[in-house]
Symmetry: D2
Subunit: 149 residues, 4 copies
């Protein structure tokens, strides 16, 4: 049975990320590592918008502990991508973001994956800290039921 | 006498380039090398828009022979930058593009520089070729008098 | 029970990858996306060394269909990293590479993950092709039993 | 008269920088912006080695105010580049580094340029500070007469 490929309706928040010429590698498509820059731009942009956790001044910051990306189709310069974001689960100190990347005019993701943050003390960077309550509240509109399987 | 810093009106074509989280380095501002990715995205995007020289299929392509960037002020994530483009001169096979980068709400460039293309045979990549006539025509709206000094 | 963190002995081939200043982001450690550039440099370098599949001239090339990275500890500039490579499984057209990244003087991975290639016709980039026999042979020294769990 | 292209003997300190697969763009050579990552890795690595100015803890840090790169020939993955460094001039608060990039087995630079640092207070990042005396001393072995023209 073919694997389900996420659609735009599966995500709750979208960030527009234009590709850059240098995103493409010698295979003339966007390099696999660059998708993770789209991922963390979407997450960091959402977090910055909340004003709660900005990576510069806040007491708590978040570090990435695991990411995954599945590629269904290539993207190219000058694609203007829509990076969809949702939150699948929030633990004591971690948040699992899920991301889908869409080319213009397409409803199935060209790439999708997850991005797991653990919250830590911003100065020590290693002591785990609870997800701030204000952040939990800000993430409510992004929450979905976890994808089956 | 303070050096002249370019303004938006000094450029003829603008490309919107949102910064990415990973554009920032450990000094917490956009890394100097990343500005050149903004430069070549602006030039490549303009060229792609003309349909004349796209780097994938056209007979002639362009390679960078010299770039320069002067930094007047830092940029940060999540700045959405306006990358201004103008053409200062067109030689037999070369084009000198000039670029100014502007943060939102600012009229003086945070960074500015130039980007010189030489046109070459796309397959051999080393044999110089004249700037295609169609490209010369497409660049007329971007032409300015060369900056003094 | 604490999760097993891979050690150097778990990998079969090592590539030295010095970090770069710009690899670090505003959290002053290597950005999560950059680890995937270490991953694909290790895989592409191994493949280039075989002379079988170089991404420029060979009939078959490989595209990335899935990657994952788990982060156990940060890396910093100017770390000189050892990128360990092994092959966990080879299917009809796909290869699952597994990667562990080690800082100097450390025997447990600061990051680890996988990188799955599917082989395709280099011109069409979408038609799946079998893993070339010469490549299967070249990968024998990298084969390991798949990690339990 | 053909322009002089720098040779290895024109530089005083060398850093080995292996190219990465993703350094190449869709023209299948190292992207122009990436050379500046080689530049700032060479400068930051030298500075880190002195222990004087490391960008993390020192009172004074350095920000880039101007860079230039001229390209004489392409570089490719998996080239292992030698990045040559010299200091052409030291002002009250600024240092002009000059860089030449060499492919293995080649004595003329495939790319060369300059990289100008201004020293600033690390916390405020905008107040100019004198080049520290210890740094002036550490740079003596890198000093050359400025290139003519």
């Amino acid at each position: 049975m073919p694997k389900y490929i996420p659609r735009r309706a599966d995500y709750r928040h979208f960030t527009t990320v234009p590709t850059r010429w240098a995103d493409q590698d010698a295979l003339r498509h966007v390099n696999n590592a660059v998708y993770y820059m789209y991922f963390d731009t979407a997450v960091a942009g959402f977090l910055h918008g909340t004003g709660i956790l900005d990576g510069h001044h806040s007491e708590v910051t978040a570090v990435v502990v695991e990411t995954l990306c599945r590629h269904h189709a290539p993207a190219f310069f000058p694609d203007v991508l829509a990076v969809g974001l949702r939150v699948a689960s929030i633990g004591t100190s971690s948040i699992r973001y899920e991301i889908g990347i869409f080319r213009e005019g397409e409803d199935t993701a060209c790439a999708e994956g997850h991005f797991i943050h653990v919250h830590v003390d911003r100065r020590e960077m290693s002591r785990t800290r609870p997800v701030p309550d204000a952040l939990r509240a800000a993430l409510v509109p992004l929450m979905v039921q976890p994808a089956p399987g």
